[in-house]
Amino acid sequence: MMPPMEYFSNLGFGAETIYSFVIIICSLMIYYGTRELYELSSYKGIKYFRQAFLFFSIAYFFRSSIKFVLDYFNKRNILDFSPGFGQFSLLFFMYFSSMAIFYLTYSLMWKRWNGNSKKIYLFHALAVIISVISILQRDNIVYFGMNLFLLVYAGLIFYISHQDQKGKKKKNNLYAIYGLLFVFWIFNVINILIPDFFQNIQLFIYLISLGIFLIILYKVLKKTGSD
């Protein structure tokens, strides 16, 4: 009988496909489920929130492509498989995943930043830099450094945004959900950049990530009253 840890680390195509499929569908449902609210209000916060989940869905598409190639051709690093395909898919995965994080934090902070939409170009530039570094530097320390930077940045934004909301009477578990979303998103990114790092807890990461996306989808559907 296969030991549990080995079983968890060998999830196979089926589990990978279902995992990616569910998260892509959740993200797209959030994106399309909020379309009417945005079309009616043209509210920038809703726009950035929607963009974040559109970018999550695209990032997960590239992530699942990379995972498929790694598993199917039994490679440790996507850049070892085919320089062209590897660099292309990793570049896009890192760009879209960084932008998803930036858009979600921007949705919380845009009012504080006086609605200055030019800041978003700065985030695009930063996401491009992160994605280029990912393909040029094949160093685990650099990978950890980049992800630590994203985590610290997201943590700082949450802290500032949470402090702003403290005066409000309403209790909201949004920050706990977003916090978990970012931490487990970073785990998913590390899982691609350094495949062996989380091998033993891959199933755990997948289940928690699925749970987080499903909770956010539930909250969106509940609030939008989507059928």
Binding site: T34, E36, L37, L40, S41, S42, Y43, G45, I46, Y48, F49, S107, L108, S161, Q165, K170, N172, L174, K219, V220, K223, T224, G225
Partner: protein
């Protein structure tokens, strides 16, 4: 007095039109909106541009404002939009 947000002002303007049996002249609408003349004209143009209201002229060449279907939809969904913004701290 709490400062009204943009969406709230739009809701108020559309609500005034609806309450006037969906037909009101521009001047009373701008007066009842309770905002400065310059801003009310700005909002008025935006409402037309977004397709929330339409301007019609009768036989006496008098202008009237009425809500479009999209305008009614906005009023219907206003609470949902505000709840969503509140829920996700947007």
């Amino acid at each position: 007095m709490v400062k009204r947000g943009k969406l709230e002002i739009i809701r108020d303007m559309l609500y005034i039109i609806k309450e006037e049996s969906n037909l009101i002249k521009p001047t009373p609408l701008l007066r009842k909106s309770n905002i400065s003349s310059a801003r009310s004209k700005e909002y008025f143009s935006e409402l037309i541009e977004k397709g929330f209201i339409r301007e019609t002229t009768d036989k006496k060449r008098e202008k009237f404002i009425s809500l479009t279907d999209k305008g009614f939809k906005f009023l219907e969904k206003y609470r949902t939009i505000m709840d969503f913004i509140d829920e996700f701290e947007l």
